[in-house]
Assembly symmetry: C2
Homo-oligomer: 696 residues x 2
């Protein structure tokens, strides 16, 4: 990995184009030796001339005084097969420019590697092994994204600890004014700036360009936020600091994550982009047969709504090892009890679900949050009313998997201390997937959910899990950056406001028309859709929240919110009241051979069709905002010559996400690839369609 | 553990005495509800009226506004048998006063528990479980030790990360003026105040009272330093902060460590005190048969002096998993190679040593220090020239144990991640003891070697080691506080300037006349004595350091520096040059039935006699300062009616620690309990005597 530095000036400016020629990336070294880049799409400016570089702690900055030592171009084209995904095969096709820059005054060399795909740009910093740059500490990364105008932005407040905010839709110039209201309360939050925002950041220019800025392959680095210069509309990287304010301890050879700019004049292209995945490394896992998409139910929503409790007693202030749970009085509201879990297992088995998640099964839930408690859970000790071997046997007898839950309360050292025994426990009792949680401040204090040290923790858990053939669904962890290509056991993440917030005051009605353009650009989300009883008060009279969605739209989310891990989050009794609609959740695939975005406009609507893995059936989902609309789609993706039956689960005419959410209608129609559909979507509504080959 | 709060005013002042009546502890609640205490010894003030209490973060202080809710007295008297120690049986005899204090304005209760022994005072804060004090964060502990005058002090600069300083001997009023010069360079240091000093702090009043201030049973708390008010001679507790400045996260029920004041008008009583051990809990280990005192040699001093290297190659900037050591060029100076280690094993076997320590056996030593590297060692991968199974077999065939070395470079998370596999590796290959190291800053940065979070790490390692039946010798960890009573597998610690500093410029000639009064009050030190070739240049011509001790004094340290773990630190070839003197190291015991301090004055001299465990032989050691002296001792501790042969290893008349350190004379004399001895000690010298029963 030693860098060869040919110290003649190769070029001060160089351009490469995307394979289809629509994108042009220009690298320009300014006269003061400041590296810059510029990106255009069909001749329109996407990123204006923007500076590159990093400031270091106790060392000269890597921002200027560079000369180009070498530049190399190459073309790459391959297709690869994901272990699970939205499509069967992914093409990874780009033109690459790698510019090696030498800073003569310090004898240091860095490299900027650009990859231009048809759907956008990725670039990263590379730090070759070299005598004058062996170890360094990042003070700040100074990567600019100079935008061409005051774009419409779909943004979250910048935060070192959470992405669980409602998306604000505003012009960039309005971010500052709306920031204060955008920062709503959270279990752990650390905002840092009046104009700082998170990635993936979705933008739309006034002339109709869709632009998405994010990062790919975030490993051993701090998570990037974007600081907005709202006069010039320049975004600049802002890394998450650690407990002493450092933003990254680097040992060469090393590289930054890829900084990504996806761009198109068609919104659907953003959703179909595989750029972030392509910028991650192929998996090194030799055996991936243990990684399987999962459709699951779970003992969860009943606690989220307050109908039952995670805890087994009503004690407070407990020390884990000093409590004898067998002698204390149960509270009678504990959800994760053996008999009740068996009901879920029965339900899962009856309806063909793969797994049952159970939260609150392990001791400690009486006193787990907000106290910065170190030894908060041990991850192996069940409450007295949760019989692990009995449930293992019962579930296995019904061909259902139990899904593990590891809430860490942010106490990362404690989790690591128990990780081996926790995973051994899972292996012993047949659990093959774990939902992890990091609610609250990171312990030890001073660290943030998104800093390098904590990112390394998530990575450690992921790799340890793989050793144990365990799939991971990380909640409150850093938002994904396509790592699932390399570590396909990362089958889900949260890292946004999920369905749980429908019980905490509600998500905006347009939330699911935005998330696929923002959070999902990095990877699948365990959104936990499928709430049929949208009034939370039906479960807990004191909770006046309601789900900001019609029932029909809840079905659509299984298609529009891509994930290999899909929960039917509501209670069995609610599904039993609507078994006709529930049929869609039973039928819908969780792994796909093909995906077509039929309609899309961030903040307004998304309609997606997907072809089930290894099957001829298609599933279509459509979600819209609070205004409602009529969706017009063509079924021209269907196979020629074949006849299909479409079962359409749609909002009734009088449906409304708030006033009449459960009004839906189901109809069957015969369709072919020539069929068109005009389908009404209620305010906060949508529809779902399953399309199966007609019996011959 | 619920506290019963009887809210009447029981007493505003109360006194208890030591069992022998010489010490009096007075507790007085001042008019403003400030709790105070006072300690006298034979009517002389040891601690003048001193305040007690703590300041909390974001909560009212626990320093005033208290009323006495309850006070209880009791007497305790037991004798217990240590797993290893200086004496066969330890008497734990004290009178106790427990004062429960209620702060009416906040409805909070704390308890101060005092124990007065014949040799001093211990007291601690107890925080009962209660609704208004469940979790809290310590801003600072405000425990005062108001001294009666401008005592002579034997002090180290206060530091959150190291005790590896030369002791300064000065009046308290002179601390401020000498602080700057006292702070010498170190691998990781964080000084905090112009008058802050460390514990154990040894003091001597002008009227001849010897006072030692330290703490006992430091568990789940931050290490205490002492901040000196050098006008009033009041010391006040100063706790080690964590990365965000917090000084302790506490969940009730909880208690502070014991704050200890050992006092006597005879210096030897300080050395003989078992107060710190007595304030620790009895061990809960059911089986202690695997814990055995150890006399060992090792591949160590040759690297310390620069004669050989820890590293196998001369590479720099390596990433542990990317180096293929089998293909890189060895540097030819690697100490821990199989052939060389076998020489040590042969030497150990020939001379009856229990074990051979080998440092630098594992990969990573090319690039391990000062870079805040996270993944710095894996603790299981040997260098290619270190054959673990072959050495295991070879050592076992000679009845010698291999001793493990785990340098962590302060990267505590990395060590914890590898701890299970490292201990399994030790179990597999027959290692039963580990020397741990924490050289450099704690990673993650912001933490300190002595803060609560890192103290919990040492405790975790100790307890994990016990699960694997492994003994621990912790270097650069927090100084001991008698925990070895509870965890007797803690057979050693460093936490002071050891012999290694003789190669880094040298220790003061009086160093070993002070350490037993300071550092050793908390527990045994792996001082690694026994250097016969005191000129380091003999090993490494470029190193002009020399050992500030005569050869005879090196022998004495095996007696004066109590430890169940004793190294013969020099190279076999140097011992082979002085096999007559080496005989003492071979003979000296490492576990004892009785101990008598025959002479002692901190900073001047110490002479101690100890009776070997289960045997009739005694060993005597004497160390003195740079002035030399004649030691006068009586052998009246010997059994009546028995005849003994004393082999005296003494400085020759012209010996001198710098000018003529290797001049010694060995003589045998017949002695009985009526014998007296006047023995010359050279400057920086001393003597060692083995006393064995004469053949009948």
């Amino acid at each position: 990995m030693l860098c060869c530095c040919f110290l003649w000036q190769v070029a001060a400016a160089e351009e490469i184009k995307s394979p289809n020629g629509k994108l042009t990336l220009a690298f320009v070294l300014q006269n003061d030796g400041v590296p810059t880049y510029r990106l255009t799409y069909k001749g329109r400016e996407v990123i204006k001339t923007s500076k590159l570089g990093l400031e270091l702690k106790n060392a000269a900055a890597l921002t200027s005084g560079f000369a180009v030592a070498e530049s190399k171009q190459r073309t790459f084209d391959e297709s690869w097969t994901p272990v699970w995904g939205e499509v069967k095969t992914i093409r990874n096709h780009y033109n690459e420019l790698a510019v090696t820059l030498t800073q003569a005054s310090t004898s240091r060399t860095i490299r900027v590697r650009f990859r231009v795909f048809d759907d956008g740009l990725g670039f990263r910093y590379e730090f070759p092994r070299q005598p004058k740059l062996d170890y360094f500490t990042i003070k700040e990364e100074r990567t600019q994204f100079a935008l061409a105008g005051d774009h419409k932005a779909f943004w979250l407040p910048g935060d070192y600890d959470t992405q669980e905010y409602s998306t604000v839709t505003s012009k960039l110039s309005e971010v500052r004014g709306q920031m204060k209201a955008a920062v709503t309360g959270n279990a752990s939050q650390t905002t840092f700036s009046p104009t700082g925002v998170q990635t993936p950041l979705m933008l739309k220019s006034q002339d109709g360009l869709y632009i998405n800025i994010h990062e790919a392959a975030l490993i051993d680095y701090s998570c990037m936020h974007l600081e907005l210069d709202d006069k010039n509309f320049v975004l600049e990287s802002h890394l998450t600091p650690d407990a002493v304010g450092d933003k990254g301890l680097i040992q060469t050879p090393a590289q930054s994550p890829w900084r990504t700019v996806i761009v198109s004049d068609r919104a659907g292209d953003i959703l179909e982009s595989k750029l972030v995945l392509n910028l991650n490394e192929p998996t090194k896992f030799k055996d991936t047969s243990w990684i399987k998409p999962v459709k699951y139910v779970g003992v969860w929503w009943e606690m989220i709504t307050g109908k039952s409790t995670w805890s087994y007693t009503n004690m407070d202030n407990i020390k884990l090892d000093s409590v004898d749970y067998k002698t204390v009085k149960p509270n009678g509201t504990h959800g994760a009890n053996t008999a009740h879990v068996k009901e879920y297992i029965d339900f899962a088995a009856l309806h063909g679900f793969d797994a049952v998640l159970v939260e609150g099964w392990n001791t400690g839930w009486e006193d787990w949050f907000g106290k910065h408690k170190d030894y908060v859970f041990d991850f192996v000790t069940p409450y007295p009313d949760f019989n692990v071997p009995e449930l293992q046997q019962y579930a296995a007898s019904k061909n259902v998997k139990m899904m593990m839950h590891h809430e860490t309360s942010g106490s990362v050292r404690n989790y690591e201390r128990h990780l081996d025994s926790a995973f051994q426990f899972m292996n012993k009792y047949g659990y093959n997937a774990v939902k992890t949680g990091y609610v609250g401040d990171i312990v030890p204090l001073g660290h943030h959910h998104y800093d390098q040290w904590v990112n390394n923790h998530y990575q450690y858990v992921l790799e340890k899990a793989a050793e144990h053939k365990i799939m991971v669904n990380g909640h409150e962890a850093v938002r994904p950056t396509g790592l699932a290509r390399t570590y396909p056991n990362l089958i889900g993440n949260e890292a946004a406001r999920g369905t749980e917030y429908e019980s905490f005051g509600g998500n905006n009605a347009d939330h699911t028309t935005i998330l696929p353009f923002t959070r999902l650009i990095g990877g699948p989300m365990d959104y936990t859709p499928g709430i049929f009883q949208t009034k939370v008060s039906a479960l807990n009279p004191s909770n006046t929240s309601f789900v900001h969605s019609t029932l029909a739209r809840q079905l659509a989310l299984y298609v529009t919110m891509y994930s290999p891990l899909q929960m039917a989050a509501d209670l069995p009794e609610h599904y039993n009241q609507h078994l006709d609609a529930f049929q869609f959740i039973k039928d819908v695939a969780v792994d796909w051979d093909a995906t077509r975005v039929l309609e899309a406009e961030p903040g307004d609507y998304i309609t997606i069709a997907r072809k089930a893995k290894g099957k001829s059936s298609w599933f279509i989902g459509s979600t819209c905002d609070e205004n409602g609309r009529t969706s017009n789609i063509k079924l021209d993706f269907l196979d020629p010559g074949k006849k299909y039956v479409a079962t359409i689960y749609a909002d009734a005419k009088d449906a409304h996400y708030e006033k009449n959410p459960q009004a839906y209608a189901i109809r069957k129609v015969n369709v072919t690839r020539k069929s068109k559909l005009a389908q009404y979507c209620a305010p906060g509504g949508g529809y779902a369609i399953s399309v199966t080959e007609a019996a011959r």
